[in-house]
């Protein structure tokens, strides 16, 4: 698993390289600005680009725009963007085209190294990883304005949030300590309530849920 890192803070950049190498990943490069990140991605052709959102040269959302350009230039590349703070807008923008191979996480998730590496691997293999905090924010906002969502049982809301985070049925079952079969029952109930078309494809179901919550 070949990883390219974009992070302008030297300590964090070196720390990430070290931790990920120790976890058996191959860090093919670690750069400090968005333009270098795009150039390096074209040269090194990594499996995953892991980047901070706020980066030079403008110090605004350069990392996010670099990630989207890399996806446009090399569609197979998985991207995970990190941020001090998560917002609905970025989640919706990142997942606008494909949910496959996209991650949006709080920077501090790095602290839980095993969980962080699990998320990176999932995204690299075409999965999705949305930070629980941004999912919670979108859920709260939707609950405020949307009666259909409000009608869901607390358990189903939990399941919905985990779907949005990018977990598959097996992972959801493990997390909630219920059977996979129960998860399937919950998900079809949720789809019915919200009017989301049932689809076996996990990427498409994440996309549908995030679109629903991000309206």
């Amino acid at each position: 698993m070949r990883i390219l890192i974009g992070e302008d803070e030297t300590l964090l950049r070196e720390g990430l390289s070290l931790v990920l190498s120790q976890q058996g990943m191959e860090v093919v490069g670690a750069v400090a600005d968005a333009d270098a990140l795009v150039a390096m991605a074209c040269v090194e052709e990594p499996d995953l680009v892991l980047t901070d959102i706020r980066m030079p040269p403008t110090g605004t959302d350069d990392g996010l725009r670099a990630a989207r350009r890399i996806r446009a230039l090399r569609p197979g590349t998985a991207v995970v963007v990190l941020s001090q703070f998560v917002q609905r807008r970025y989640a919706v923008e990142l997942l606008a085209d494909h949910a496959a191979g996209v991650g949006y996480l709080l920077k501090q998730r790095v602290l839980d190294v095993p969980a962080f590496c699990r998320d990176l691997r999932r995204v690299t293999h075409g999965g999705t990883a949305l930070d629980p905090e941004v999912v919670a924010l979108m859920m709260t906002r939707s609950l405020r304005d949307d009666e259909a969502l409000d009608s869901l049982t607390p358990r189903r809301r939990e399941v919905l949030a985990l779907i949005a985070e990018g977990l598959n049925n097996a992972a959801i079952a493990r997390r909630l300590s219920i059977s996979e079969k129960a998860v399937v029952v919950h998900t079809s109930g949720i789809y019915d309530a919200l009017g989301i078309p049932v689809d076996g494809d996990e990427h498409r179901r994440v996309l549908a849920v995030v679109r629903y919550l991000g309206r």
């Binding site: 959302d61 703070f85 807008r89 839980d112 924010l137 405020r144």
Partner: protein
């Protein structure tokens, strides 16, 4: 009133080019004529008295005429020095009345007729003048009624005396029938009426003395005292003569001298007691033409012109009034003796002249002085406005600095309370851990600390405001509101927000201020308004950024209500923008902000 028209003559109001500034008073032509005429009448009377004088000593008869002259002279003096005051004309009329009454002593039928009718009119005039003093106007209903009554008593009730009293005058020119019974009754009625009027007048004057302040009382007391002595003497000379066993000629002489003192007391009170020397409007014009460095203040010049040392000025700034130093003032509302005359220039009020209505009865001369000084007043108004805005600027700057300090203190407190302790504890635990220990708890503690720090940083500077600008940051803010919050943004502004048009970003000072204002308004709406739906509208219109924050709550928000709303206003004003809070009770609150955002 003869000669009064002179003072309304616009030509006379114009500043003259001669630029007189000294104390020389040009006696208006009409007053000159009046004095000449009175002098001629008096001279004629004296000549007639010498030939046709009735039985009394010639010196005593001349004294009566002389009283008329003193009245006229003091009246003219008062009129010239205090054109706005009505005492001058009143005293001039008094002079004529005395001259008329004096005619009774000339043994020619026509003169006797005039004198008989006006015999007691001087008493009425003295009462009138006392009641009208110092402005020359009868200001209360009581004094008006008393004045009318005293004129009736001296003119109407006088009739029986010359109509029915054969022995009353010599020769009895106006006699209709010799009826001693009717004469006696008439005298009694007039006596009783006179007594009632005198006692009532005394009561009115005493009440006025009690109600006035010390400065006024010092002027009023001697004049009233003199008046009381004169009136008592005039109305009860016979009784007095009996009581103190004095020769009637001596008593009469003494009384006539007192009657000369009375008008002098009136005028002395006007000119010395509390009244400064009065200059004319043309001197005000000369003042206006003087070089800036050499003239006293406009207030002093106006004060001298209208003759009120307590005169003050107010300048129109915005919807209120300020004094010359820019400090907000209230104009008198009619509840006190202070009155205000508005000075207008080009159909707008620029200033107000506040004067003492007990000193100045007629606002017209004040108004005239204001018209002459209008341009100068407007210029002073600009200075006052500048001072007022400077004052406001200083206040708002102080508030901004205080708000900054408060914010820093709060941040320091939060960092200390929410992070320092937690991190210290974690450091202790790391220090006491041995190899192989489970560090999950410590990692969790660090995770929580980082979350705290993130929120603190977000509170100081929202990350989206830096990364994507105002609209994205406000959108994120509305996402996190506990109430339903609708955001309306115009198309042009919306295009700039998703990162495609970085150039359309607003200046960071405008973004920061706009964000803070919206955050404050939304927080207030959630906390205090009891609203169900909040609406934020952001529009860019040319070089202006317009923001509206509307709620459907209880309304009644006041800018002075707390530091929050006022702080918002200060920040917006600092950028040259405006903030309006429209919050009628029961109809929601609407905060409107407009700022220049040329980017």
């Amino acid at each position: 009133m003869p000669g009064l028209s002179i003072f309304c003559n616009p030509r006379w109001m114009q500043p003259t080019s001669s630029g007189r500034t000294g104390g020389s008073h040009q006696l208006p032509m009409a007053l000159l004529l009046l004095s000449v005429a009175v002098a001629a009448i008096a001279a004629g009377e004296v000549a007639l008295l010498a030939t046709y004088g009735t039985g009394a000593p010639f010196g005593l008869l001349v004294l009566v005429t002389l009283v008329g002259c003193v009245y006229t002279a003091t009246g003219i003096l008062a009129w010239v020095r205090r054109p706005a005051n009505r005492m001058g004309p009143l005293l001039c009329i008094g002079g004529l009345v005395w001259l008329a009454a004096s005619a009774v002593n000339i043994a020619i039928p026509a003169f006797i007729a005039v004198g008989s009718v006006t015999q007691t009119l001087p008493t009425a005039l003295a009462v009138h003048a006392l009641l009208a003093y110092p402005s020359g106007r009868l200001r209360s209903l009581g004094s008006r009624v008393l004045t009318i009554a005293v004129y009736c008593a001296t003119l109407v009730l006088q009739a029986p005396l010359y109509l029915f009293g054969a022995s009353w005058s010599e020769p009895p020119v106006l006699l209709v029938a010799d009826r001693p019974d009717l004469l006696a009754m008439g005298q009694r009625v007039q006596g009783v009426a006179g007594l009632v009027i005198l006692v009532s007048t005394g009561a009115v004057l005493i009440r006025r003395l009690v109600a006035s302040d010390r400065r006024h009382r010092r002027v009023l007391l001697p004049v009233y005292g003199c008046g009381a002595v004169v009136l008592v003497g005039m109305t009860s000379s016979a009784t007095l003569a009996r009581l103190i066993a004095i020769d009637p000629v001596t008593l009469g002489t003494f009384q006539l001298f007192l009657n000369m003192v009375l008008p002098c007391a009136f005028v002395a009170g006007l000119l010395i007691g509390g009244f400064e020397r009065t200059s004319e409007v043309d001197q005000l014009g000369a003042w206006l033409g003087a070089p800036d460095g050499q003239r006293p203040s406009l207030r002093d010049a106006l004060s001298r012109t209208v003759g009120d040392p307590t005169l003050t000025l107010g300048y129109r700034v915005g919807h209120g009034w300020v004094d010359a130093d820019g400090v907000a003032i209230e104009l008198p509302d009619g509840g006190s003796n202070r009155r205000a005359v508005l000075v207008e220039l080009d159909d707008r009020s620029v200033a107000a002249i506040v004067y003492d209505a007990t000193l100045i009865a007629d606002p017209e001369p004040v108004r005239a002085a204001g018209r002459v000084a209008a341009i100068a007043l407007d210029r002073e108004r600009l200075t006052a406005q500048l001072l007022a805005s400077q004052e406001e600027l200083r206040d708002s700057r102080t508030r901004l600095v205080e708000a900054g300090d408060r914010e820093r203190r709060r941040l320091a407190q939060d960092l200390h309370d929410r992070l320092q302790g937690r991190l210290t504890l974690l450091a202790l635990r790391v220090g006491s851990a041995s190899p192989g220990d489970d560090l999950t708890e410590i990692r969790r503690g660090l995770d929580e600390s980082i979350t705290e720090l993130r929120w603190l940083v977000q509170g100081v500077m929202p990350s989206l405001l830096v990364e994507r600008g105002l609209l994205a940051a406000v959108e994120d803010m509305t996402d996190r509101m506990p109430l339903r919050t609708v955001l309306h943004v115009d198309e042009a502004t919306a295009r700039g927000v998703d990162g495609r048009e970085v150039d359309s970003r607003l200046p960071s000072s405008v973004e920061g201020t706009a964000y803070s204002v919206i955050a404050e308004a939304l927080t207030n709406a959630v906390k205090h308004a009891g609203a169900t739906t909040l609406t934020v509208v952001i529009r860019r219109d040319g070089g202006r950024l317009r923001i509206e924050v509307v709620d459907d709550g209880v309304g009644g928000a006041r800018p002075s209500g707390g530091t929050g709303l006022r702080g918002m206003g200060d920040r917006v004003h600092a950028l040259g923008g405006t903030l309006v809070i429209d919050s009628p009770a029961g109809a929601g609150t609407r905060v409107l902000v407009e700022m220049a955002c040329a980017s």
